[in-house]
């Protein structure tokens, strides 16, 4: 679970969002929707980030600079090493019965949609992707998604790019299942707007990230769950809203 990974690239995608790729043993990662936990110099708790993409000896994360930890990461250079806990959380369940899944990502909830999109495409699904951002300057990964699937819609809250509105605005898409990740108000809107079952990825302040401290527990219809171990992905039917 614990690995030392080496930074391959680290570059800005927007003025505050960065993409970092790393090399090293990633065998513990079992699927999209899982996360990793970074140990950073001089900071006590690790910083959790979703897996954006992974492969053999390869990991990619996308992060927004919001505080000390992400700030430190943004200044790191290729060749530098990081202590990472890998393969944390349950991840998205890809065995569900769906032919036309819709993927809804908001802001820095977009990254986990990327590998998920790849995997669903490989499984022969007809995937629709909708990504929501506040404004044009914040949009990232449109091209990357378009290289995997045709149906990629970008929404901006202020209408400065793509379609104006939220990921759930003018929701007339054809879909039979939902995969989503984003800020909680967005997840709630998705929960209320969509009519099918789906999988929702949550965030919580974490102590350990691997189920030991009970720092991240939430109540669900299926009992208490640790977001880090029994989540971060919950199915729509168990969410209490």
């Amino acid at each position: 679970m614990q690995q030392i990974l080496t930074i391959l690239t680290n570059k800005p995608l927007t003025s505050s969002v960065y993409e970092m790729t790393l090399s090293g043993n990633t065998d513990k990662i079992t699927g999209p929707g899982q996360f990793v936990n970074f140990k950073l110099l001089g900071l006590y708790l690790r910083r959790p980030l979703s897996i954006c993409d992974y492969g053999k000896n390869y990991l990619k994360v996308i992060y927004k600079v919001v505080g000390k930890g992400t700030e430190q990461m943004s200044k790191m250079l290729p060749g530098e090493q990081l202590d990472v806990l890998l393969g944390l959380g349950n991840g998205y369940d890809l065995t569900v019965d769906t032919k036309k899944p819709i993927l809804l990502g908001g802001g820095v909830g977009t990254p986990p949609m990327y590998n998920l999109c790849k995997k669903l495409k490989e499984l022969g699904k007809s995937v629709t992707v909708i990504l929501g951002f506040n404004t044009k300057e914040e949009v990232f990964y449109e091209e990357e998604f378009k290289q995997i699937v045709d149906k990629v819609i970008i929404k901006t809250a202020d209408g400065s790019y793509g379609e104006k509105g939220f990921v759930t605005s003018d929701f007339s898409h054809e879909y039979d299942y939902v995969f989503t990740c984003g800020p909680e108000p967005m997840l709630k809107a998705v929960y209320n707007t969509t009519t099918t079952s789906g999988q929702y990825s949550f965030e919580e302040r974490m102590g350990c990230g691997f189920g030991a401290c009970m720092g991240c527990t939430c109540k669900t219809k299926y009992g208490n769950k640790r977001i880090c171990k029994d989540g971060p992905v919950l199915v729509k039917e168990e969410i209490i809203w």
Binding site: K39, L45, R205, G207, G215
Partner: protein, 304 residues
């Protein structure tokens, strides 16, 4: 060969390393990472008479050299622990375990102690007196020598295993509290529990923790723990399980010099899940460096 064995109120541990309550669950997550039978023992998650969800989230805040938690004793309740978790624990841990119990009244503590001490695998019962007393206006049991005496002597009568009282550092005079434990018939004390702390989010100007304040633990509390352990060592004759900010084999030796017989490792497990394994591997090497042949010889060995 360095002798790492220690005798904790009659229970002989292969080494003094005991993961602290609340940072090691019931051991299962760690057993999937390494063979936890290398540990001296471990103290399981604070267990109460009734199942508890605990406090609202956020329950965790990052700090310089430490963390705050306000988990609020989330646990599945003593019956579930005794009937479901303990039978399973045997499959991944084959040594006596430390049963940490919490409570909000003397009756609850007694019920819990009675039940856990009847479990075969429980070697020591550890009484967490840092909980608020619902019958005493919510004041922490552990902050008043008389209350500590009352709860300890009542629990002792219901406890079939050696009883350790886990002390809170949030007191003016730790010695009088430790003395009350000894007078009440405890077999040992564990210290320290977390220190009260608080953080504020600058953007929202709200406390980071939903409960406003929480318990501070981790590297930063180490010197506080060392001082309190030494104070208690100089005051009572009972064995001490030291706890607070331990991260390395050197820290273990320092804590034992202060007076600890066993050493608990808490928050460090959350950051480096392999920390206890690494400390146990390092101990013989560090002992050699400081010319220690028998680790138990150094307990309380600080000069001056």
């Amino acid at each position: 060969m360095v002798d790492l064995k220690v005798n904790l109120a009659g229970l002989v541990l292969d080494n003094p390393i005991v993961p602290a309550s609340g940072t090691f669950g019931y051991g299962e997550e760690f057993a999937s990472l390494y063979d936890i039978n290398i540990l001296g023992s471990f103290s399981f998650k604070g267990t109460t008479a009734q199942e508890r969800f605990g406090n609202p989230t956020p329950r965790i805040a990052d700090c310089a050299n430490g963390m705050l938690n306000s988990v609020g004793l989330q646990n599945p309740g003593v019956d579930y622990v005794c009937n479901t978790i303990m039978p399973k624990m045997k499959t991944y841990f084959n040594k006596p375990v430390v049963a940490n119990i919490g409570g909000f009244s003397i009756e609850e503590y007694c019920e819990c102690a009675k039940k856990v001490s009847e479990c075969e695998q429980v070697g020591i019962v550890e009484l967490n007196v840092s909980c608020p007393n619902v019958h005493g206006g919510g004041m922490g049991f552990g902050t008043d020598a008389k209350l500590v005496y009352n709860v300890t002597s009542a629990v002792k009568q219901n406890c079939k295993k050696p009883l350790f009282v886990k002390l809170t550092p949030n007191v003016t005079d730790i010695k009088s509290i430790a003395k009350a434990c000894e007078d009440a018939g405890a077999n040992g004390v564990t210290l320290i529990n977390t220190m009260l702390g608080m953080r504020i989010n600058l953007n929202t100007r709200k406390p980071i923790l939903a409960m406003r304040a929480g318990g501070y633990s981790g590297k930063a509390v180490f010197p506080v723990a060392i001082r309190m352990i030494n104070d208690v060592y100089n005051t009572i004759k009972l064995p001490i399980m030291g706890c607070g900010g331990v991260e390395t084999a050197e820290d273990v030796i320092e804590m034992m010099l202060a007076g600890a017989t066993a050493v608990q490792v808490g928050s460090a497990n959350l950051i480096n899940p392999f920390v206890c394994k690494e400390i146990i591997q390092d101990l013989p090497i560090v002992c050699k460096k400081y010319k220690i042949k028998k680790l138990s010889d150094i307990i309380g060995g600080v000069n001056g």
